[in-house]
């Protein structure tokens, strides 16, 4: 927009309605495409695996008749794309088939296992965000001095120490020796099944039911695995925050803010950090999404009934419905979080609007 004075005025860059519609259609197609790709790849992989799904169901003592019956019922005589379309059809009707290991529908299994992972991943990510970001900022602001070195060492530990070792040591010290925290599992057995699983997230359910005893116990069980996982996301988030912050503090608009007489606190948090946040959103989204895949090692060490160990056990038991269903849910989470961070990014960065 140039008027005769050669001025370009900043005007609303809000997309006009057809534009916005096109953006929406674009997003919709992205979702559909990602969904088709995700399901197709996992489906094909699960079918070409040298696993006999019929045998996994009927066992090796069944007669040929029973075998054939099940073979037909599963539609295995059809070409693979027909099988795929059937799978998609029932998936769209909320049916992921039945799990062999648990004898339950995969849907109900996921409703049981996924919230456990969600709980752990969310608490770990919150820890990473609320501790990792300030650590990274402090390190950048004190570049080369001791706070920077401390953060660097913590980051290094978070990267290089194996989870299962750290997990076992933590259990040994804080649970077995000191008795400060709960042990493996989500809650002590005698609290099991006390609260109705509305959401499946035990902390929420306990709080909703007002069962504070259960809540406290669940927290004491969650602390160790969440801290452990949190340390890893914290290390990553702190490292990235530090480098983004150093980059921003070297920019000229920071000098401008200082020239204006703005306090150092505001220079860092009001000016530099807003720009760091733009870059951090993607990083945080990625960490969260990767934690939602379920971390098999942590779930195993802490006997945490999460989606990661569910999928892994399914794999070992030739339970392809469980593997396929779990993978699709995890993939959907990944796509969802990516889209969410995209939306947030647009909200925070005016250049992306």
């Amino acid at each position: 927009m140039t008027d005769h004075n050669g001025q370009t005025a900043g005007t609303g860059r809000a997309p006009s309605p057809p534009n916005r519609l096109r953006a929406l259609v674009g997003v919709f197609f992205t979702i559909v495409l990602t969904f088709v790709g995700l399901t197709a790849v996992t489906f094909v992989i699960s079918r070409v695996m040298p696993v006999d799904p019929v045998l996994a169901i009927v066992g090796d003592r069944a007669s040929q008749e029973v075998y054939d019956q099940v073979y037909l019922r599963l539609g295995l005589d059809q070409p693979i794309w027909v099988q795929y379309l059937r799978y998609i059809n029932s998936l769209l009707h909320g049916d992921l088939g039945t799990s062999i290991m648990t004898g339950q529908t995969v849907m109900s299994d996921i409703a049981r296992f996924f919230p456990a992972t969600l709980e752990l991943a969310t608490v770990a990510t919150l820890l990473g965000v609320f501790v990792g970001i300030p650590m990274g900022v402090v390190a950048a602001v004190n570049q080369g001095r001791w706070p920077d070195h401390v953060v660097r060492v913590v980051g290094l530990i978070g990267y290089s120490v194996p989870v299962f070792w750290l997990g076992l040591v933590a259990l040994l010290v804080f649970y077995a020796k000191l008795g400060w925290t709960g042990g493996p599992g989500r809650v002590e057995v005698y609290f099991d099944g006390i609260v109705e699983p509305y959401t499946g997230v035990l902390l929420l359910d306990a709080a909703l039911a007002g069962e504070w005893e259960v809540f406290r116990n669940a927290v004491s069980h969650l602390i160790l695995p969440a801290t452990l996982l949190g340390t890893f996301s914290l290390a990553y988030v702190a490292r990235m925050t530090r480098s983004f912050m150093l980059d921003q503090l070297g920019q000229e608009y920071i000098l401008t803010a200082r020239v204006k007489g703005v306090s150092e606190f505001r220079v860092i948090w009001g000016h530099a950090f807003r720009n760091v946040l733009v870059q951090l959103i993607t990083i945080i989204g990625l960490t969260y999404a990767s934690l939602l895949e379920g971390s098999v090692l942590t779930e195993t060490v802490f006997a945490w009934p999460g989606i990661g160990s569910y999928i892994t056990r399914g794999l070992f038991n030739n339970d392809m419905n469980a593997v396929l269903g779990g993978t699709i849910v995890v993939g959907a989470c990944f796509v969802g979080i990516n889209m969410l961070s995209d939306v947030l990014y647009r909200l925070v960065d005016p250049r992306a609007r």
Binding site: Y253, V259, V278, P350
Partner: protein
């Protein structure tokens, strides 16, 4: 110049940096006074112009060392001042306009908020008053649509408009001194003149002192009252702007010789010869 008019007194100012490759002396013992006038500072790239400006604001950055026999503004010793005192001086009393609004404005903050902040830092005004002042400030740097520009983000404004925004931001607390570090180098020629006219108008109307840093000898000669020529961290010549073309120092003469001229076109432009002696000779004294 009457001593009461001396807003800023600089005596034997040096700025050096500790770098992995040893000490870099950016400014090496320069002296000058600044009154309510337009003082031009010229010199080639790396001669220490920007660091001189930043040293006055205490913003030479990490790893820098600033020394001076005197660095005084309105009775305040800027060299030993604590951070709180410096912050009260920055923006409110001495301000600085930088080269390129593309980099010197915060990309995720609206233009209006950034200007407003410069005002709010130094006053007890509320947001509504600040907004009104910002809008009138935008109007006084000849922005026709202050409301619209107020809500714009830096990437939505042109270079010339961005530099006006920068001027508005640095003028809003009504400082006594403005340091303009190549304020028009990033703009195209027609816009340069507009922005200069605005700067000139505001500085003269409010009777401020202006330190105008530039590469452009002709521009400085016509725009400023007095000119300081820097070379390798030293002041090699000080003269009235009108006398610049009769300057004595061989470096200044060399710089002038390098300028293309329309009235006397040269086949080949002169190349500046440097005498190592210029770098070691004592700085020119303030007249």
């Amino acid at each position: 110049m009457a001593s009461s008019d001396r807003l800023l007194q600089v005596h034997n100012l040096s700025v050096s940096f500790d770098t992995p490759r040893g000490e870099v002396n950016a400014v090496r013992g320069i002296s000058f006074d600044l009154g309510r006038e337009k003082l031009g500072i010229v010199g080639e790239s790396g001669s220490g112009k920007s660091q001189t400006g930043r040293a006055i604001l205490g913003l030479t950055g990490p790893g820098s060392r600033v020394t001076a026999d005197r660095l005084e503004f309105d009775g305040i010793n800027l060299l030993n001042a604590d951070q709180a005192t410096l912050r009260r001086v920055r923006g409110a009393r001495i301000s600085m306009i930088m080269q390129d609004p593309k980099f010197s404005l915060n990309p995720v903050m609206s233009v209006g908020r950034q200007i407003e902040e410069a005002y709010l830092v130094h006053t007890r005004a509320n947001r509504r008053e600040a907004r009104e002042r910002t809008l009138s400030m935008l109007a006084s740097v000849q922005i026709r649509n202050p409301e619209r520009v107020y809500d714009a983000y830096p990437h939505e404004v042109s270079g010339g408009m961005g530099q006006r925004v920068m001027i508005a931001m640095m003028m809003i607390p009504e400082p006594d001194i403005i340091i303009a570090d190549e304020p028009t180098s990033a703009l195209d020629v027609t816009v340069q003149l507009q922005v200069l006219a605005i700067l000139d108008d505001m500085v003269s109307r409010r009777g401020m002192g202006l330190m105008f840093i530039s590469h452009d000898l002709n521009l400085v000669a016509s725009f400023c009252d007095r000119v300081l020529v820097m070379y390798a961290g030293r002041v090699v010549e000080v003269c009235e702007a009108s006398q610049l073309h009769h300057a004595q120092h061989p470096y200044t003469r060399g710089l002038i010789g390098c300028l293309p001229s329309v009235s006397h076109p040269h086949e080949v432009l002169a190349v500046l010869d440097r005498d190592p002696e210029w770098a070691t000779a004592p700085s020119a004294a303030d007249p």
